[in-house]
C-alpha cells in the first residue's frame, strides 16, 4: 500500500510539474516534450487505478500521434509564440478576474453545506464489477452496444470536421508537377525515341515535331 502511495505522489507531482512546464517554457519544442512527459505520467496514474486500457490508449494516441503531430507543427510552421503570448498577458487580468469570480461563486455554493456526498444520486449507473468484466470489454460494451447511436453521430461530427478543414484550407495550386500513371503507361516508343542515322562529321540534331 505504501509503495502505491509513493508511486502515486511521484506520478502526480511529475504530471502537474510537467504541465506547468508546458505553459511556462520559452522554447515551444520543450513545451511539446514536457507535454509528452505529462501524458506518460497520467498513463501511469491510470494504471494505478486499474484502468490499463485507458492508460495504453493514452500512450498510443496522445503520445504516439497527437504529440508527434504537435512537434511537427511547431517545427515546421513559423509561428511567433512570443507574439501570441503577448496577447495572452494583455488579457490575463480580466480573464483572471472573471475566472476568480466564477470560482468563488461555485465554492460558495458547494461550501454552503447543501451537498450531501454521503447520499449519492439514486439513479446512477452502477459500475460493472472489475473482477467480472475486463476494462476493454466494459468499454466495448458501452461504445458499440449501449451507446452505438452516440458513436455513429460522433463519427459524423468527425467527418464534418474533416470536410471543414479541407474546405477552408485546401487550395488547388497551379503549376504543380504530378505523376500521371495513365499518361506514362500510354506513352509509346515512337513518341519519345527516334532512331537517326548520324552521318560522320555532322552530329545528331533533334527537331521536335
Amino acid at each position: 500500500m505504501i509503495i502505491q502511495t509513493i508511486v502515486f505522489y511521484v506520478l502526480a507531482v511529475m504530471t502537474v510539474g510537467s504541465g506547468l512546464a508546458v505553459i511556462s517554457s520559452r522554447n515551444p519544442v520543450h513545451s511539446v516534450l514536457f507535454l509528452i512527459l505529462a501524458f506518460f505520467n497520467s498513463a501511469g496514474l491510470f494504471v494505478l487505478m486499474d484502468a490499463e486500457f485507458v492508460a495504453m490508449i493514452l500512450v498510443i494516441v496522445y503520445v504516439g500521434a497527437v504529440a508527434v503531430l504537435f512537434l511537427f507543427v511547431v517545427m515546421m510552421l513559423d509561428v511567433d509564440f512570443a507574439k501570441l503570448r503577448a496577447g495572452f498577458i494583455q488579457y490575463l487580468p480580466i480573464g483572471a478576474v472573471v475566472g476568480a469570480i466564477l470560482l468563488a461563486e461555485l465554492i460558495l455554493v458547494f461550501a454552503s453545506g447543501s451537498i450531501d456526498i454521503s447520499k449519492p444520486a439514486k439513479m446512477a449507473m452502477p459500475m460493472p464489477d472489475p473482477a467480472q468484466v475486463q476494462n476493454t470489454e466494459a468499454l466495448g460494451n458501452i461504445l458499440y452496444t449501449n451507446y452505438a447511436y452516440l458513436f455513429q453521430i460522433a463519427g459524423l461530427v468527425l467527418l464534418v470536421a474533416m470536410i471543414g478543414a479541407i474546405v477552408l484550407t485546401h487550395r488547388a495550386r497551379v503549376g504543380v508537377k504530378r505523376q500521371r500513371i495513365a499518361d506514362q503507361v500510354a506513352r509509346r516508343p515512337k513518341d519519345a525515341v527516334r532512331l537517326t542515322d548520324v552521318k560522320p562529321g555532322e552530329g545528331a540534331s533533334w527537331k521536335s515535331d
Partner: protein, 484 residues
C-alpha cells in the same frame, strides 16, 4: 446496464436517410468536382423533401429508440417539419447566389445537409449526450458554412467569431450536463426527471440548479437571446447571405425545440427556478432588439436584431409554462420561419449592376422601380412588426394571450411596448421604399426559384388569417406531447 434491446430503426428513418445521402453526395462531389454543385443542391432539397415525407409518415404517437436516447412524438414531427421546410427553402433560394458569388463548391449543399441532420437529431434528443452530439454536428457544420467565402475577410471573421463563442457555449453546456449527471443521477431525460422527483419535498440540491443555469445559458446562446446575443449581428452580416438566411430559419427552430424539450421535460418539477431565467431572457431580448435595431443601416444586421427580438417574443410563451404557451411558441416559430425566409429572399434579390447591395438606403424608391417586390417586402415588414391582418400579429397574439392567462401581466405589457418600439424600424423600411427618391433599380430577373420562394412566403404571411387551421392544429398536437 440493462440488457441490449435492438433499436427501432424505423422511427429514425429520416435521419438515417439524410446521413446516408449526405455521404453519397460527398462522394459524387469528390469525383465530379465543383460543376456538380447545382445538381447536388437540387438533390439535397429532394432529400430533405423525402425526409419531410418520412417525418410526417412515421411521426405521431410517442416512441423512443436507441436505449431511450432518441424520441419521436407529435412535437418532434412538428419541429422537424419546420426545420426541413426552412432548410430546403433557403437552399433553393441560395442557388443563384452560390453560382454567381464564388461559392460554387460542392461541399456547400453537403454541409447544409449535415447541419440539417444535426438539427433533426437535436429535436429528437432524449438524453443529455444525444443532445450534445446533435448540437455539435449542427454547430460544426454552421461554423464552416459561415466562413465559406474564405477569401472574404468578413466571412472568415464571422466564422471565427461564431466558432470561438460557440465553443465557449458548448463548454458551458457540458459543464452543466456534468453537474446534472452528478446530482440527478442520469443523463437520460426520464432519469433526470425521476432523480429530481426522488429528492422529494425539500427539492433537488443546488447542484442541479447550477447545472440547469449553465445549460440554459448555453441554449440561450444558440437561440441568441440577450445577453448571449453578441455574436448574432456580426455573424449575420459577415456570413454569405444564403448562409445567413439558413442561420435565421433552421437552427433557431431546432434550438428553441431543444430549449422547450429540456426545460419542460426533465426539469418540469423546477418550473419556479427556470421560469425566472426565461422571463429575464425574454424581456431583455425584446427590449434590447427593439432599441438596438433603430440605428442599423445594413439590412442583414437589422434582420439579425429582428431575429433576437423574435426569440424574445417566442420565449414569452415558454415563460407562461402552460400548454397554451407552448402552443403559442410553436405557432410563433412557424410564422417566424416563413417571414424570415421571405425577408432574406428579398435581400438576396437586392442586386444593382450585378453587385450585391445590402444597405437599407439601397431600397429607396423600390415602390416605383419594382412595385411587386416592394409590396411583398412591405407585407413582411408589417407582419414582423405585428400589424394585423398579417401572420406576425397572430404569432404575437397567441404568446401574449398565454402570458396573460397565466397572470404574467408585466411580461405581456413589456412585450407589447417593445413591439411598438420595434414597429418603428420595420415601418421605416416601408417608408424608404415608398416615399424616398428612387435610386438605381435592382437587376432583373431575380431568378425563378427565388421568385417562387418569396411569393410563397408572401402568400402564406398575407393569407394566414384566412387559413390558420393547419399550423394551429399541428402546434396544438405538438404542445400536447410535452404535457403528458
Amino acid at each position: 446496464m440493462a440488457g441490449f434491446v435492438a433499436p427501432d430503426y424505423l422511427i429514425a428513418l429520416p435521419e438515417i436517410l439524410l446521413a446516408g445521402l449526405a455521404c453519397v453526395f460527398l462522394m459524387v462531389g469528390v469525383f465530379t468536382g465543383n460543376r456538380s454543385t447545382t445538381p447536388l443542391t437540387v438533390a439535397s432539397v429532394a432529400a430533405m423533401a423525402i425526409a419531410l415525407a418520412l417525418v410526417l409518415g412515421f411521426g405521431g404517437e410517442k416512441r423512443t429508440s436507441f436505449g431511450d436516447m432518441f424520441i419521436v412524438d407529435t412535437f418532434t414531427t412538428f419541429m422537424k417539419s419546420l426545420v426541413l421546410i426552412g432548410a430546403g427553402a433557403t437552399l433553393i433560394m441560395g442557388l443563384g447566389y452560390v453560382r454567381r458569388e464564388g461559392m460554387n463548391r460542392f461541399e456547400f449543399p453537403v454541409l447544409i445537409v449535415f447541419a440539417t441532420l444535426g438539427m433533426l437529431l437535436m429535436i429528437s434528443a432524449n438524453d443529455l449526450m444525444a443532445l450534445y452530439v446533435g448540437l455539435e454536428l449542427q454547430s460544426l457544420s454552421l461554423y464552416i458554412v459561415a466562413a465559406f467565402r474564405r477569401d472574404a475577410v468578413r466571412s472568415t471573421e464571422a466564422g471565427l467569431k461564431y466558432f470561438v463563442l460557440g465553443a465557449l457555449s458548448s463548454g458551458l453546456l457540458l459543464y452543466g450536463a456534468s453537474m446534472i449527471y452528478g446530482f440527478a443521477g442520469g443523463t437520460s431525460f426520464a432519469a433526470i426527471a425521476e432523480g429530481i422527483k426522488n429528492y422529494g419535498a425539500e427539492g433537488p440540491p443546488i447542484g442541479v440548479l447550477i447545472g440547469l443555469v449553465f445549460i440554459a445559458a448555453a441554449l440561450a446562446f444558440k437561440v441568441s437571446a440577450v445577453p448571449f446575443h453578441m455574436w448574432t449581428p456580426d455573424v449575420y452580416e459577415g456570413a454569405p447571405t444564403p448562409v445567413t438566411a439558413f442561420f435565421s430559419a433552421a437552427p433557431k427552430i431546432a434550438a428553441v425545440a431543444l430549449l422547450l424539450r429540456v426545460v419542460l421535460g426533465p426539469f418540469h418539477e423546477m418550473v419556479a427556478s427556470w421560469n425566472q431565467i426565461i422571463i429575464f431572457l425574454s424581456i431583455a431580448s425584446m427590449a434590447y432588439a427593439a432599441f438596438a435595431a433603430i440605428g442599423q443601416r445594413n439590412i442583414k444586421r437589422l434582420l439579425a436584431y429582428s431575429s433576437i427580438g423574435h426569440v424574445g417574443y417566442a420565449l414569452v410563451g415558454l415563460a407562461a409554462g402552460s400548454e397554451e404557451g407552448v402552443r403559442g411558441v410553436l405557432i410563433y416559430m412557424a410564422i417566424y420561419m416563413v417571414m424570415t425566409v421571405g425577408a432574406f429572399g428579398a435581400v438576396l434579390a437586392m442586386r444593382q449592376k450585378g453587385q450585391m447591395v445590402e444597405e437599407i438606403a439601397d431600397l429607396s424608391g423600390l415602390g416605383k422601380t419594382n412595385p411587386a417586390m416592394a409590396a411583398v417586402v412591405g407585407i413582411f415588414m408589417f407582419s414582423m412588426a405585428g400589424i394585423p391582418p398579417f401572420a406576425g400579429f397572430f404569432g404575437k397574439l397567441y404568446v401574449f394571450l398565454a402570458a396573460v392567462n397565466q397572470g404574467l401581466y408585466g411580461l405581456a405589457i413589456a412585450g407589447v411596448l417593445a413591439s411598438v418600439v420595434g414597429a418603428y424600424y420595420y415601418v421605416r423600411i416601408v417608408k424608404v421604399m415608398y416615399f424616398d427618391e428612387p435610386t438605381e433599380a435592382f437587376d432583373r430577373p431575380v431568378g425563378r426559384e427565388l421568385t417562387a420562394v418569396i411569393a410563397a412566403s408572401g402568400i402564406i404571411t398575407a393569407l394566414f388569417f384566412a387559413f390558420p387551421a393547419p399550423i394551429l392544429q399541428g402546434a396544438q398536437a405538438a404542445a400536447a406531447a410535452l404535457f403528458p
